[in-house]
Symmetry: C2
Subunit: 310 residues, 2 copies
């Protein structure tokens, strides 16, 4: 959840440096904290059978949306949905949210429209809005803090996969920045259905694009990956110019990428309800990030691709 | 915690309208939620003996600070401190925070300085930073979500005072926007010491100024108040031109205002450690907000005063 933004050359610290710095300087001292910075959500003791999950994501004007092309309702809806997606990626159920709005003074009256979007999503996923804040801000933002609950036995981290685990992805990828970013449904039910079939060894939600998020899962688990390009499920919304690049780098899909031990591979169904589940590759011991083409050629994803598109 | 900002005529919805709208539209459905929107923190079931508290407050460039007159370290420190103050006002102990930063790209490198301030405060109050987010944003903001824990028997709301309860305030008030806003220590220990002496019937932290926050406590409890002007403990930092107005309306004091049943009044000590505790007035059945002067004259605080200074 840290530093999800598109990086540019001007940023002297890369995402990984930021997270590594934070991991060292924000080492939790409270024994109730099971996982701090570095996963989709933080994990804290709740009761004997379950953990609390905490996540936070902001959507910011001119970075995540433009007011010319998105309604306040869409922005509110998305702001909660991206957080619900982070809870889904841990196997959890979202429960309580705090909503922090930054609005220009003259825009105070639009807050009902923002809330219409937030509450639509909240009602759909039975999330209670229990607090928050409203600040004046020249730049409009919606910053949501979401708590979730997950049974201890169902908790899935992104850091616990192993080499040779099989990678699966839900749904189809690419072109989500056109429309899907405002209408996607976070994969809460689907994540829990997958866990019932067989618990993934690791899971992450796809916010920055398959390539970038697969790298995060692989790196957190101390692995590399090999993705079979021909297997990537490409959305009809993907760019027609370069459909594979679109599916790999566009981002905003909010599908799930998960790993499963090789001997449990067959336990994963082809569909969960209407949602397609596709095997797209595997994790590798060698820490390289490879795309495998049908002719057998393997191409390493360049730093540039990660940096410019993730 | 909602709508703490200075209101202007341009804002068509007044703070109370916003909160009333939210209370109606965000009515918690989860039985674990004891108190949703409308207090310093939300209150949720934790274990048999304690509640979880959740609060959120943002500090935003050119609204809560100017980069010409505050260092990033000061801003980081304050951003966490104002949230700790909200937990203190419920009688709780802060435990876990998520930190959401909005920074211009070129400012990414200053994030260590912001964290220096946040971590200073976090270490002082044993708060773990367990997650958060970093976004690009044209307007710089630090938005913190803080969880706390309070023993059920120690929970103090702002809505449970009664007419004739006596009002007390910690410390001294006024002029805090000069320096104190960046160096104050939230009154966590002091709140808990007060509760040990006698549990207040209601408590609130003073962020918007004594007049405005006393009104919030009184209104939440269905009361009015009468504050004895001569009893207000005025800070040496208060404006020399009008010391009483400064103490009533400046804001940013982050002291505690609390109410105590009349028959428990004597249980409140004059000091907690080095911190002065001062009796400043009482709650009233009549829902008016009065200042009582030494000559016996009572003046109603005008809407203008509330609106322009709170």
């Amino acid at each position: 959840m840290f530093w999800k933004e598109k990086e540019t050359e001007k940023n002297k610290m890369e995402e990984k440096q930021v997270i590594d710095w934070l991991k060292v300087h924000c080492l939790p001292k409270d024994v109730r904290v099971k996982t701090g910075i570095g996963d989709d959500s933080a994990v804290v003791d709740y009761d004997s059978k379950s953990y609390l999950l905490f996540t936070n994501d902001a959507v910011v004007e001119n970075v995540h949306f433009k007011l010319k092309t998105a309604t306040f309702e869409q922005i509110g809806r998305k702001a909660l949905a991206v957080n619900i997606s982070d809870i889904a990626a841990m196997g959890g159920i979202p429960v309580w949210a705090l909503v922090s709005l930054g609005l220009q003074e003259k825009r105070a009256s639009v807050f009902k429209e923002i809330y219409r979007g937030i509450l639509e999503m909240a009602n759909l996923f039975k999330v209670d809005i229990i607090g928050g804040n409203l600040s004046r801000s020249h730049t409009f933002f919606v910053d949501i803090f979401l708590a979730g609950i997950v049974e201890k036995k169902n908790l899935v981290l992104r850091s616990t996969a192993k080499p040779e685990d099989i990678l699966f992805v839900t749904g189809t990828l690419g072109g989500a920045q056109k429309e899907k970013q405002f209408r996607f449904l976070p994969r809460v039910k689907e994540a829990r259905a997958i866990i019932e079939h067989t618990k993934p060894s690791a899971m992450i939600d796809l916010s920055d694009g398959l390539a970038s998020d697969a790298r995060k899962l692989a790196e957190a688990s101390g692995c590399g990956f090999e993705i079979e390009v021909s297997q990537i499920p490409i959305s009809i919304d993907a760019s027609r110019k370069n459909r594979i690049s679109s599916a790999l780098y566009d981002g905003e899909d909010y599908e799930l990428l998960f790993a499963v031990a090789k001997d449990s591979e067959t336990k994963i169904p082809e569909r969960i309800g209407d949602l397609k589940i596709t095997k797209i590759g595997r994790l590798t011991e060698r820490k390289t990030f490879l795309l495998k083409y049908p002719d057998g050629k393997k191409i390493r994803i360049s730093k540039e691709k990660f940096r410019h598109f993730s």
